[in-house]
Symmetry: D2
C-alpha cells in the first residue's frame, strides 16, 4: 500500500488507560493513523479528547453509531479502514457487530464480549462478513513468548507434563472502587464486566497465554474463586487446577487483591525434555532448563532464536522492549494482514489473536464460574 491504514477509535477518551495504550501501540510501527473517534458518549468530552489528539472536530463523534454511519459515507480516500474498540466489556459486542456489518474491520480489547452468547454470535457475524478481527491478547506479542511457543511447537521440550500460570495484581486490595476510581468501578460491576471479575480481566490473559504457548487446549478446570473486597459480588481472586487435553496438569492463580503485585503474569511449562519460564514484568528473558544441559536464557535478538521470535524484535539484544511494543505487535500483524487483503494478497499465518481466542476466553470464564458454584468440581471448557 502507498498509504497508512486509517483507524477510528470507540472509547478511550481523556483519562482512559487502555485507549491510550491502543493509540500508542498502533502508532509505534508507523503503519496506522488515528483519523477519527467516538471517544466518549459525552459530546464535549469526545471533542476535547479528539482535540488533544490533534483531530478535527468533524471526525470526533458522540457515539459509535454516528461514527460508523458517517464514516461509511466518506470518500474512500478519507474513510477509516477499521475501528479499535476500547470500551468496557459490555460495550464490545454492539460496536463490533455494527462495524463489521458496515464494512469495517475490527480490533477489539479483551474479554471479547459480555456474554458467551454474544461471543458466539460475533463468531457467526465474522464468518458472514469476512472482515478481519483482532483481539488484543497483547502478551502473545512478546518476542520471548513467540520463542516459547516455537520451542514447544518444534518439540524441543518434549511432551508437556506440567504448567504453572499466574496473573497477580494488587490494585484492588483496598476498596478503590468506592473512591470513584474509574478503572475499578466498571470492573467490579457485573453489568459492565460480565459474570467474571478478575476472571475476565486477567484470567482470560492467563488462559490465552497457556493455550498459545503450549499449543494445547485446557480440557477441564476446577476453580475456587474468592471475593475478598468489601461489598464485591464478582471474583477478585481465583485458584484453579488445570487438566490439559494431552494429560498435562497444572495450576492457575489469578488475583487483583495480591497486595504488592503490580502486573505479575508469569508462566512455567515443564516437558519431558525441557522446561521454560517467562515473566511479563521482565519480558526480555526466556529461561529454559534442559535434561542434559545447564540453564539457557534467551533474549530478544540474542543467540539461537527461532524466526518467530526474531521477526517481532524491533531493536538489538539488550535494548528492552516492553508492554507497548508487544501490544504494537498485535496491531502490526493485524495491519500487515489488512494491507495484504487490500492488495489482494494472502498471508499464511497472520499470527494475531482472533475471534477464536475470544470465544475460548468466554468459555473459560463460564466454566470457571460454573466449577466454583459447584464447589470446585472439574468442569470442561467448551
Amino acid at each position: 500500500m502507498t498509504r497508512k491504514l486509517r483507524m477510528g477509535m470507540i472509547g478511550g477518551g481523556i483519562g482512559s488507560f487502555i485507549g491510550d495504550v491502543h493509540r500508542k501501540a498502533a502508532a509505534i510501527d508507523g503503519m496506522i493513523d488515528l483519523v477519527c473517534g467516538a471517544f466518549s458518549s459525552d459530546a464535549e468530552k469526545s471533542k476535547q479528547s479528539g482535540k488533544a489528539l490533534f483531530l478535527n472536530d468533524d471526525r470526533c463523534y458522540t457515539d459509535f453509531k454516528e461514527m460508523i454511519l458517517t464514516e461509511k459515507q466518506l470518500p474512500e480516500d478519507k474513510r477509516m479502514d477499521f475501528v479499535a474498540i476500547v470500551t468496557p466489556n459490555h460495550m464490545h459486542f454492539e460496536p463490533a457487530k455494527m462495524a463489521l456489518e458496515n464494512g469495517f474491520h475490527v480490533v477489539c480489547d479483551k474479554p471479547m464480549t459480555l456474554t458467551l452468547d454474544e461471543a458466539l454470535e460475533l463468531e457467526a457475524i465474522l464468518k458472514r462478513t469476512g472482515k478481519l478481527f483482532a483481539l488484543t491478547h497483547n502478551y502473545t506479542g512478546h518476542p520471548m513468548v513467540k520463542q516459547a511457543k516455537a520451542l514447544i511447537t518444534n518439540g524441543d521440550l518434549g511432551k508437556i507434563r506440567k504448567i504453572q500460570v499466574q496473573y497477580l495484581q494488587g490494585w484492588l486490595s483496598t476498596s478503590v472502587e468506592k473512591t470513584g476510581q474509574k478503572q475499578a468501578s466498571w470492573r467490579i460491576d457485573p453489568k459492565r464486566s460480565g459474570i467474571g471479575g478478575a476472571l475476565g480481566d486477567i484470567g482470560t490473559h492467563a488462559e490465552n497465554l497457556v493455550e498459545y504457548i503450549t499449543g494445547l487446549k485446557i480440557d477441564e478446570i476446577a476453580a475456587d474463586l474468592g471475593v475478598f473486597g468489601e461489598d464485591r459480588v464478582l471474583d477478585d481472586d481465583g485458584n484453579l487446577l488445570l487438566r490439559m487435553e494431552n494429560g498435562a496438569k497444572g495450576t492457575m492463580s489469578i488475583s487483583q487483591i495480591a497486595l504488592g503485585e503490580e502486573n505479575n503474569l508469569a508462566i512455567k511449562v515443564y516437558g519431558e525434555k525441557g522446561s521454560l519460564e517467562w515473566h511479563q514484568e521482565n519480558p526480555n528473558q526466556l529461561i529454559t532448563h534442559w535434561l542434559e544441559n545447564p540453564v539457557k536464557v534467551f533474549t530478544p535478538n540474542g543467540n539461537d532464536l527461532y524466526p518467530e521470535a526474531i521477526n517481532v524484535s524491533r531493536i538489538p539484544a539488550g535494548h528492552p522492549e516492553g508492554y507497548l511494543e508487544a501490544f504494537a505487535t498485535i496491531y502490526k500483524n493485524f495491519a500487515t494482514h489488512l494491507m495484504a487483503v487490500k492488495n489482494n494478497k494472502t498471508i499464511e499465518n497472520p499470527d494475531y489473536p482472533t475471534v477464536n481466542d475470544g470465544v475460548r476466553g468466554m468459555q473459560f470464564i463460564y466454566a470457571a464460574v460454573a466449577s466454583n458454584q459447584d464447589n470446585s468440581t472439574w468442569t470442561k471448557i467448551k
Copy 2:
C-alpha cells in the same frame, strides 16, 4: 553443661545423602559429638561408615536395637544422649519408639512415619515418656523464614488472604529408579515411602512451611496428583487448592518431574496490609510488599529484623548462609533445649519442629490422597 551432647545415628551409612546432612548440621555449632551409629544393617558397611567418621569399631552397630540396648548399658559419661534417625520412612517409627522407651531423646527425619497410625502412636509414646523429639523440617530454620513468621505474628501483613506455595524438583523426570539410583528407589516404593510419594518427600515440607509461616492451619484441600514416571504407582507430581482456617485461599504445586528445577521451594503470602515472598534457592532474601511503601528486601543480620530472625543468623549480612545452616538451627535449638532439660532448666519456646508437626504432615498426606481418589473433592486435614 560442661560437655557436648552425644549423638548416635540410625542409618546414614556411606553414600547416604541425608545422613551426611544431619552429621554436618549437628557439627556446625559445636554442641554435639557423633559418638556411635547403626549406619547400616550390613555389619561391615556400618563399621566402614563409622571408621570414615573416625569412630571406634565398638561404637559401630549393626542394627538400631543393638545400639540402643548396648548404649543404655554404658556409663553415663560415655553413653549417647539422643539418636538421630535418618533412614527411609518405613524405618522411622520402630527406632524412635524403642529409643524413647529406653530413655533416649530423638531427632527424626521427615515425614515422621510410614502411616498416620504410627504417627498417632508416636505422639502417645512421647506424651508417656516425656522425652524430647525434633522433626527436621529444616526449612523453618532459615533466618528469613523466621522473619516471615514474625512479620505475620506481629500483624504487619494484616489478615492473610492468599497463599502460593510450591516445591518443585526435576530429579525424577526420567526413570532414575531403574538405574539403581538409591535415593529414587525407596522414594517410589510404597512399602518404604508410604501412601505418598512426592507428597511425603516434599509436600510435607510445603505444608509445614505454610502453617509455620502463617500460623494458620490448612483447613481443607482439593488435590490432583500426577503419576508421570513410567511404571510408578506413587505420585511424582501434585497440584492442590488450599483453604485456610481463616478463610484465606491458595495453591500448592509440588513435583519431582518438573524438569530443570533443582530444589525450588518457594512461598508467597498476601495479607490485607502487606505481602511476602521467600525462595529456598536464594534463602537470604525476604521480599516484602506494602500497601503504602515500596518493596522492602530483608537480609539475615540486615536492617529492621525481628529478634527471631537475628537470633538464628550466624554471620554478618551479606555472608550467605545455606541449607546446612538452616538444618543446623533445628539441631541447635534442640540441643539447647536438651541441655536446659539436663540442667533442670525450662525453655519457653524451644522453636523446633516436633511430633505435632509430624502428625500434621501425615494427616496432610492422607487428606491429599483421599481427595485425589475422589476426583479432587475438598477434604479436611485432620
Copy 3:
C-alpha cells in the same frame, strides 16, 4: 497547537538501526508526524526508504541540503518543523548547522559532532539562531533515571562519595567490521567516528548518565583504553578512574568486546545517607539502600515516587516500558517545548539533553584520549 509537529529525517534509510529507533520514538506519543526525509545519499534508496514509510516521492530527498532548501520554500502548513539527524558522527555538524541557519529546529543523535571544535561552533550557532536543539541521550528518559536524579537532587542520598558506571557490549568481540556489518564499519573508522571509538559510541552515554543523575561534573579522569579487535585503531574497550567535582571518586568501565554483554549500561551511586543502583537492561527497577532502612525497590508508577518520575511513566506499574519509550520521552519533551515556543509560551525546565550535554560529551572523549596517550595521567574534562 491544533496539529502535530512535522519532522524531516536526515539519514535512517532502510536497514538503519538508529533511524528506525528515532522514527518509532517520535511516533509513540502522537505529537509528531514524519513528513519528509533525506534518508540516503543514494537517490533511489532514499525514495525506497520513504515509500516504505508511506511518504510521497516529492518529500524524499537525496541530500540534506536539497531537503532543507526545498522544505524552506514550502508553505508554512506543509513545511517540516524540525529535522532529526541520525547519520554517523561525521555527518552531524553540517546538517545541524544548515538546518539551524535556515530556521529549522534540530534533534541530533550522539555524540554530537565529529570534533570538539565542531561542538563548540554548534554551541555558538545555537546561541545565535535561538533554535531548539535536542541531543538524544535517550537513557535519561527512563522513569527510574528521573527518580534517581530526584533522590539525589532532594538530598535523600546525602553527599555523594562513590560512583560505579559501566556500559558493556560484546558485539565487536569478533571482527564483524570485516564481514561488512554496516553498524561496525563506521564505528571503527576515525574518519566517521572521530577520535573515540567505544568512547564516543557508548562512553558518552555513561558520562552523560553520571552527570545527569548525580548533578555533579566529572572533574578529572584517568583512562586506560584498549584496542583488542584485530587491525582496529580506535578504542573498543576502556577502564577509567573518575574524580567528581565534590570529591567523590569512581570507576567507569566501557567495552564493545565484553563478550556476551548485550547493552549493559548500569550505574551505582553511593552517598552518605543512601545509595542507588540502576540497570538499563531491567530499567523498571531502581534499587536503593539506606543507612537505617532495608532495601527499597522503586518501579515506574509504583509507590513513593517523585513527580519527575511519575510524569514520564506512560502505563501502570508492572507494565514494563523499555528503550523506545525512554527514547520517546526525549522527543516528547522536545516536542512539548517546541509546541510551547510556537504558542509563545515558556517552559521552565524542558528536561531533555541539549548542546551543553553535547559539548560535555566531546570534552570527555578528548580528555580520555589525552589521558590514555599519557599512560593514564589524571586529565581534566574541559
Copy 4:
C-alpha cells in the same frame, strides 16, 4: 587416619566474628576437633571462651606462647596438630613463626602479615620447616569459583581480555569505630592493620580471586584510594585500574563506605570465546556467556560441571551452600593434605591458598599504596 585432627586456636574469644567462623568451618566436615585455645590475652576471658566451647580449663591458655610450648610437651595422642590464627593482622606473624618452628602446622587468616617483610620472612620459615600452611582466602572455596577457574584453565573462554572485580561493603559508612565497635577499631588502626585499610581487609580477597580464577598475575595497577570516614588515616575505599600479565585490562573497586552494600564481592571475566560472572552474595550461580550460544547458568552439583567444582559440593543442586561451606573447604583440603602427610602420602594438588597467596597479597597492598601516593601512577606488583 583413625582419628580427627586436633586444632588449637589463637584469638577468637567470645564475641569474635572470624574466630567463630573458623571454628564452624573447621567443624562442618567432621575431620577436625578443637582441643585448645589461647582465645584472649585476658586469662579469664580465654577460660570463659574455652568453657563456652566445652573445653577443659587446662587447655585454655592466656597467650599463644604458653599454648605452643605447653602443647609441645603433651603426649602425641593429646597434643594439637595445628594452630588456627584468627587475631588481627599485627598478631599473625609471631604466632605463625613460633608454631611452625615448634613443629605445628598453621592455618592463618588474611592478610597474612602486617608487613611485606614479615610475609617474606614467613615464606622462608615455611621453606625451612617444611610444615603446612593455609591462608583462609575462603572465597576460593566456592564450587562455582572452582568451576570458573576450570572453565578458564581448560580454555573454554579463550584468551582473557577484560576483568571487572569489586568488593563492596558499607559497614564503615559511619564512624562506627568511635562507638567502640571492635571489628572497626582495629581495622582502621595502622598499628594493627598495616599500611592498607580496606586494601588489606577486602582488597586482598579481590586480588586473590582475580588471580585464582584467571590463573593470570596482575602485572601493574593504578590506584586511587579514598579516605572518607572522619579522622581516618587508612583507605576505606579504592578504585584501581588493572593490567594483567597477558595484556588483559580491568578495574577493581573496593569499599567499606559503599552504603547499603553488605558483602558484595563480584567478578566478571571476558575472554575471546566466552565470559563469566560470579557474585558472592548469591554464590550458587555461575553465569556464563558464549560467542555462539545463549547464556548458561551453572549451579553446584548441576549439569556440565568440571570435577573441580563437583568435588567441593556437599549437597545436591538447589540446596544452597554458603559462606561457611566455602570456608570449610579450605579447612577440608588442608586437613586432607595434613592427614596424607601424616600417613606419609603425597597429594598432587592440595588446592588451598598458601604462603604464596599471602606474599602476593602483601605485594598488592604495597603496590596500591605506592601508586596512590604517586597520584595513581602505574605500579608493578612484586
